[in-house]
Amino acid sequence: MTVTSGRPGAPTPPAVAAPGARRRWMPRDGRARVGLAVIAGFVLVAVVGPFLVTGASGIGPDPLAPPSAQHWLGTTQTGQDVLAQLVVATRGSLLVGALAGLLATVLSIVVGVVGGYVGGRVDEALSLLSNVTLVIPSLPLVILVTHYLDGGGILAISVVIGLTSWAASARVLRAQTRSVRARDHVAASRALGERPWRMVLVEVVPNLLPVIAAQFVFAVIFAILTEAGLSFLGLGGVDHLTWGTMLYFAQNAQALAIGAWWWFIPPGLAIALLGCALSLLNLSLDEVINPRLRGSRSRRDRRAARRPAQPREER
């Protein structure tokens, strides 16, 4: 097999290249940089990786080989290259995360913002809908639906996860919308004669962006984990490759018992690493989006500003 693209977590250009040109959107926060770099690495692998590797499927000549120069991450029981599988599975898992996260976020924005902004009966109806969705135990539901769909492929699983995971974000967004809506600047633009849809899209939603972005990142993590869990249980269908299905096959082949650590550690590590990166990004998203924080001083400036105060505290 051949690998030319970077491994997960490989350093990505943004941190180094053209600092002046990218300063406006490039976060100064180290957490965001690390998170973005790792995510960019994963995305790169997911987009170009599958074209560069071979041996992800089909039976190979040497089964259960430990990592070697030929198979960097060893092979499975049926002789498939684990690294190749990992690269292909990255695309599957990321696709599920992105699709389900996007669907859940769009649904939560529509339900939460419309309900919170319009109020009254509409709000009551939409709140009821999200409350009901919230109390339905989602994992059994997802299991039932995926079982009914017989796996159904990545798209079906993404839709099912997206449809069952929007409710909590919708409630958060509804509360936040009500808070923003009550602010004077919304009243002021109403007094200027702005149309309702424009008020929602231009005056209210931008103020929700930090929340929406955080909810989206969370939804992606949740979707990837849910898909991994489903697949691990054997409910995700076996016609596509994700980190979850890799773990499922490893578990089925008793990889742990026979000591084939190279089989189950890489996908597990990939899940953990991507989860960490998304969480890191989530922690510092506010700074990226909020104009009040975006233009603020860098960490070095803040440290410099803090310095003169320290001697006084020590005394």
Binding site: H185, A188, E203
Partner: protein, 349 residues
């Protein structure tokens, strides 16, 4: 003809703790007129319904009863009527930190009203107008201010932006809802002077809502006093402050700190003849809203007091003044009801 007038405004709020039959009456039978080039101050304590009146006049809120006349025409419902109203009547809010959207630049805040109400303008003309607006409210250099986000400006600067936004579509009426109460004392006067200058330049009708009697007297031509949703007294500002007729206005005027009275009975309370009688019943029973606190309450205060014209363009909603006229059965003449000497002692050095 008045630029903006309101007759018999009533606004009630149903609150969770109150029954459906006894809603909170935030505004009760308020009528007022705003004339071009004139500042009218609406004073009263917190919760007296001042801001609700402003929101109704800006048509951000709908009254439960009463009419609004814009240039003598009754307010028309629907989008077109609302649009016309919003173009003519603009509002400046109390909190400059909340009244500008933190996500948009000053330029956006000033460009939107131009786009909405003057869609024929080209981009260059818009830029020029924005520049001119910022110039008028003394925000220089206009180019840099226009590119700034609200968080980069101080409270006073933000309030100037809010005023510029209100004036962008060239309204005839400006409702200023406590425009300086959130600002530093040092810049209040500047903002008020700015409002006064803009009023004179544009021949604006200004409603200045405040609880500061001193600035009300200084900047307003007329003063309206509100108490618990009712307009209890109105008249030319000097007359209302120096010679208050309604017991509430007297309390209010006496409560204002006066540097000339330093060391004397500033804290001892107003020097009013207290003839307080226990009179049960209050606003909910339909009586005088000030009944609970009035030092001169009488049994008849359980009935709603009439709006008594006192001459000289003054009115007071109080039985004290109706008492002079009612037994005689003749309407009060301007000369007789306006004696030069105040009827009750006013604390004067």
């Amino acid at each position: 003809m008045s630029r903006l007038a309101a007759h018999g405004l009533v606004r009630e709020f149903r609150l969770p703790g109150r029954s459906r039959r006894h809603p909170l009456r935030a505004v009760s039978d308020v009528s007022l007129e705003l004339h071009a080039g004139e500042t009218v101050a609406l004073v009263g304590e917190s919760g007296s319904g001042k801001s609700t009146v402003a929101r109704i006049l800006a048509r951000l809120d709908t009254p439960d009863a009463g009419t609004i006349l814009l240039d003598g025409q009754p307010a028309t419902p629907g989008r077109r009527g609302l649009r016309h109203h919003h173009r003519q009547v603009q509002i400046v809010f109390q909190d400059p930190f909340a009244s500008l959207n933190p996500f948009h630049t000053v330029d956006h805040h000033l460009r939107r009203p131009l786009r909405l109400h003057h869609p024929a303008l080209g981009r260059a003309e818009e830029d020029e107008r924005i520049h001119h607006l910022l110039d008028r409210v003394n925000l220089v250099p206009a180019g840099r201010v226009a590119a700034a986000h609200p968080h980069e400006l101080s409270g006073g600067q933000r309030q100037r932006v809010a005023i510029a936004r209100a004036l962008a579509c060239r309204p005839g009426v400006l409702l200023a809802d406590e425009p300086v109460s959130m600002l530093d004392v040092s810049i209040r006067l500047e903002i008020l002077r700015l409002l006064d200058r803009l009023r004179a330049e544009d021949d604006l009708a200004v409603l200045y809502i405040t609880h500061d009697l001193a600035t009300a007297r200084h900047f307003a031509h007329r003063i309206l006093v509100m108490y618990r949703g009712e307009l209890v007294e109105s008249g030319p500002s000097d007359a209302v402050i120096l010679d208050p007729r309604h017991p509430y206005t007297r309390l209010l005027a006496a409560a204002a700190p006066d540097p000339r009275r330093r060391g004397t009975s500033a804290l001892a309370g107003p020097d009013l003849p207290v003839t307080r009688v226990e009179v049960p019943g209050g606003t909910d029973a339909g009586g005088c809203p000030f009944l609970d606190r009035c030092p001169q309450a009488m049994p008849r205060c359980r009935l709603r007091p009439p709006l008594v014209p006192l001459g000289g363009g003054r009115t007071a909603r109080c039985w004290l003044h109706a008492a002079d006229t009612d037994p005689a059965g003749s309407p009060p003449g301007p000369a007789t009801t306006r004696p030069p000497a105040p009827p009750t002692a006013r604390p004067d050095p």
